[in-house]
């Protein structure tokens, strides 16, 4: 799949960074403003998809992209399981316990383990949707791993 015209490439260079920044903002402030792990993760995946569409598959070495994002996806979901299991092994033996201090409502560092869940689910959703996009749209012909 060849890339698009120079105009599209230039605007993508500007836009993609901002979209990714907005995505990270939505993930990190998930417990304060609307959004959260899923919404921010999907937006970040949108930023990556924009770059791949604009520059085409020959520009980026997509096979390593796919392998790399599978690895990040699996690591981040394992971190989510680790977070939920830590509550299990802590004194009270409860799965999915919110064990960190809750802090005052409305501040950035406030909701115990919630921001950590948000971040890891955000990374995992970003890499999952990027792999689905890569597999479905870009290289159906080549042999996948």
């Amino acid at each position: 799949m060849k890339g698009m015209t120079v105009i599209v490439k230039k605007t993508t260079q500007i836009l993609a960074g901002m979209i990714f920044l907005y995505g990270t903002y939505v993930v990190i402030h998930g417990h304060l403003t609307p959004g959260g792990g899923f919404a921010g993760g999907v937006i970040m995946a949108g930023a990556f998809i924009l770059i791949t569409l604009a520059y085409g598959s020959d520009f980026l070495n997509l096979k390593s992209k796919e392998a790399g994002s599978t690895a990040t996806e699996n690591i981040s979901i394992l971190m989510v399981i680790l977070l939920s299991v830590v509550g299990l092994f802590l004194g009270t033996k409860i799965f999915f316990l919110n064990f960190l201090p809750k802090g005052t409502v409305g501040e950035l560092i406030s909701a115990g383990t919630l921001p950590l869940y948000n971040i890891f689910v955000g990374i995992e959703v970003t890499s999952s949707i990027f792999i689905i996009f890569l597999a479905l749209v870009i290289y159906k012909e080549e042999e996948l791993t």
Binding site: T33, P34, F38, V105, V125, I132, A135, L136, K140
Partner: protein
């Protein structure tokens, strides 16, 4: 009452599309229409008259809020819908690659 009926009509349109259409992609489109109507149905149930969006601001405490539980369920269901739609499209790509057509009548390879 009327909005629930309209939402169910949307569901029935999708179901009609799945039952009668021959084209694989049309069936995928009808499934995503049914999905949209299921999400709308959940959010309609969770609406509380005069309620605010479920964001607590420490400035003005104890407001009337919309029910957050159906919204949490729909958030989960949207991502499940994305997962099933992408799997369905992967199968459609491969079936088009092997059979060369989207029409279900020519794909009747299996008996029964």
């Amino acid at each position: 009452m009327i909005t629930y009926l309209m939402c169910f009509i949307l569901f029935l349109t999708g179901l009609y599309g799945v039952i009668t259409r021959r084209n694989l992609l049309k069936i995928a489109i009808s499934l995503s229409i049914m999905e949209v109507s299921a999400f709308l149905f959940f959010t309609l149930i969770g609406y509380v008259e005069g309620g605010k969006a479920p964001i607590v601001s420490p400035a003005e405490p104890n407001q009337v809020y919309v029910d957050p539980l159906p919204q949490a369920m729909v958030l989960t269901a949207i991502v499940i819908g994305l997962a099933t739609t992408s799997l369905l499209l992967a199968i459609i790509i491969r079936i088009y690659g092997k059979y060369g057509t989207f029409d279900i009548r020519e794909i009747k390879n299996l008996k029964g």
